[in-house]
Amino acid sequence: MRKKATTAGVPQAKANLRNRVVNQLERFGMLILIFLLLLVVPLSLDTFRLGLAAKYLCFAFPAVGIVLFWGYGGILSLGQGVFFGMGSYMMAMFLKLESAANPDSSSGTALAAFFGSAGLPDFMVWNSIEQLPWFWEPFHHVWITIPAIIILPPLIAFVLSYMNFRNRVSGVYFTIVTLAFAAIMAIVIIGQQGYTGGINGITDFKTFLGLDLDTSQAKYVMYYITAVLLVLAVFAGRFILKSRLGKVLVAIRDQEDRARFSGYDAAMFKAFIFAVGALFASVGGAMFTIQVGLASPSLVGIVPSIEMVIYAAVGGRLSLIGAVYGAIMVNGAKTFFSENFVEYWTFFIGGMYVFVVMFLPLGLAGILDRIRGAAKHNGRTDE
């Protein structure tokens, strides 16, 4: 140790600089993120690219949730798309009913008026359903829809996961259960075409609370709402992790039995963090539907659910901010590939899973950590 200290004169200075840069990055990571999301992105992109950015940010919500329960709770869910889909579909139901209620703004309603079923969503008319199903009724009102988006998915996530965790269904078993849920939801949505829009999903929305969604003004408003909500989600995640609850969670992740013997209800903690993840996913899904104008089973099933895990994995499973960058980068890559050579996208993302797991288990944030770790190590020899 001492020997190193005497010889490490010049690299030391370099390491210190590096150390400082990385520390600043970490300290100001949040500020940089806010700066990027609220100023750089909206000011530098045209409306089309802004829409894409907004879409990517929506996918960052479930990714932030995955960091919370995967990175810190040790629970891997391959069914995050279920909750994303719940938020997405609830918002879609509201938007669809609003569009259907304003006849002159919706193309399908001329047909609906002809069949005497005005006020019904167009796809129900096509499937010859004459009465609005009961579970659509509450979504006439925005003040039921928004609380439902915030409360229902976490509640369902909590109940489902608590029952599992209490019976010590954990690890890969729980993961398979989440996989099954993703499969069930996709199957039901596709199977019940008359009630859910089937494989085509629910689409063709006009307004949100009277705001025409096609105008660029609406696009900016929605982008800002999404960005602010995302920053709030990251802050909330940070708050949870910094609190005692977060520490207990990590303890449960590393030594579940020991934490349980110390008197903590491990199942409760794990179910709670899983529910938080579901909440974020649901909000992301709702914002997605408003901005992209689509709720689709292709965002619910197994494939998209597992894709959401890669967002968190690329950014770093222990980094909330990393999840945001991960979601933006993976989705950016997806857009890039589908614009240029679509056939290589699957190769790319498949390779990504293998590469990240094998060589970058802590993702991009892990690279930062490694640089800082090296710097720290050098710093210690100094003493």
Partner: protein
């Protein structure tokens, strides 16, 4: 009618069993979740497809037995692939089961795209051998297609072979030893890494057989495997990962249930119902329905 239903159930059961056997070995004995299992089935199916093309071109007189050759070749291909997959990827991840899921999912996606790009993006199907095209007419109302009977026979023979391999041969002894006590088996001089590699390869090979037999029922598309993966997992988890017998029993239960539910509900709703039911059962029996061990 009743007999037909039961037969369909038996047929679904044999397919589920074929799919789940390989996974049960890899998951139950090695605790590795292979999400690429479905793609390995597709690999077996494509191997059979390739064999049929080969026979058509060079030995048209032997078309009758090409399928048997195809099954063997499918096993060999996936066995070799599984061996190299274990050596190059899986063995580094034994300590991280959740990460294994992600990595193997990635492998599955890559395989899928390979099929799409290098074989055929559209579904392919194989010719059925003439002796499998017939129908066994039991009575006027009851008739069983020969191909289904063949698959049922194949499934049972495979299950029997796996049982014999695991319980009556030296290799099986080694596999069980490593499974039960890794450190101790290492201490008495068993090369665990070799056993791991061959066990994994065996599981993959069984996927190949399953895929091969699928070609007789349906055409093979690049994403065929993905459609089956959840059902396969569910069968294994439902039966309890400890025993092969549990897997076989659970395949029987799920196969029959699915058939009967499909009789009353639409096909997709029946699938959803099965999944839901299995999840419910897991609440009450987290170790699986047929797990004998209570101790953990």
């Amino acid at each position: 009618m009743l007999a037909m239903q039961a037969f369909t159930g038996l047929s679904v059961f044999s397919i589920l069993m074929l799919m789940a056997l390989g996974l049960a070995i890899v998951f139950g004995l090695m605790r590795v979740i292979n999400m690429a299992h479905g793609e390995l089935m597709a690999m077996g199916a494509y191997t059979t497809y390739g064999t049929s093309l080969l026979f058509e071109a060079y030995f048209p007189s032997l078309m009758g037995i090409y399928f048997l050759v195809g099954v063997v070749l499918a096993f060999c291909t996936t066995f070799v692939f599984g061996y190299f997959l274990e050596r190059s990827l899986i063995r580094f991840l034994y300590e991280r089961p959740l990460d294994t899921m992600l990595a193997t999912w990635g492998v599955g996606l890559i395989l899928q795209q390979c099929y799409r790009q290098f074989i055929n993006p559209r579904p392919v199907s194989v010719p059925t051998a003439s002796w499998l095209q017939g129908v066994w007419q039991v009575t006027d109302d009851i008739s069983f297609p020969m191909s289904r009977i063949f698959i049922i026979a194949l499934a049972f023979v495979t299950a029997l072979l796996v049982y014999l391999l695991l319980h009556k041969t030296r290799w099986g002894l080694l596999i069980r030893a490593v499974t039960q006590n890794r450190e101790m088996s290492g201490a008495v001089g068993i090369n665990q890494h070799r056993v791991d590699a061959y066990t994994f390869a065996l599981g993959c090979g069984l996927a190949g057989i399953a895929g091969s037999s699928f070609t007789m029922l349906a055409s093979t598309a690049p994403d065929t495997g993905q459609a089956y993966i959840v059902d396969t997992f569910i069968v294994v988890v439902f039966g309890g990962v400890e025993s092969l017998l549990g897997t076989i029993l659970s395949a029987a239960v799920i196969g029959q249930l699915q058939t009967w539910l499909e009789f009353y509900l639409s096909g997709s709703m029946a699938r959803a119902g099965i999944l839901l039911l299995v999840i419910l059962v897991l609440y009450f029996r987290p170790n699986g329905l047929f797990a004998t061990k209570v101790r953990r």
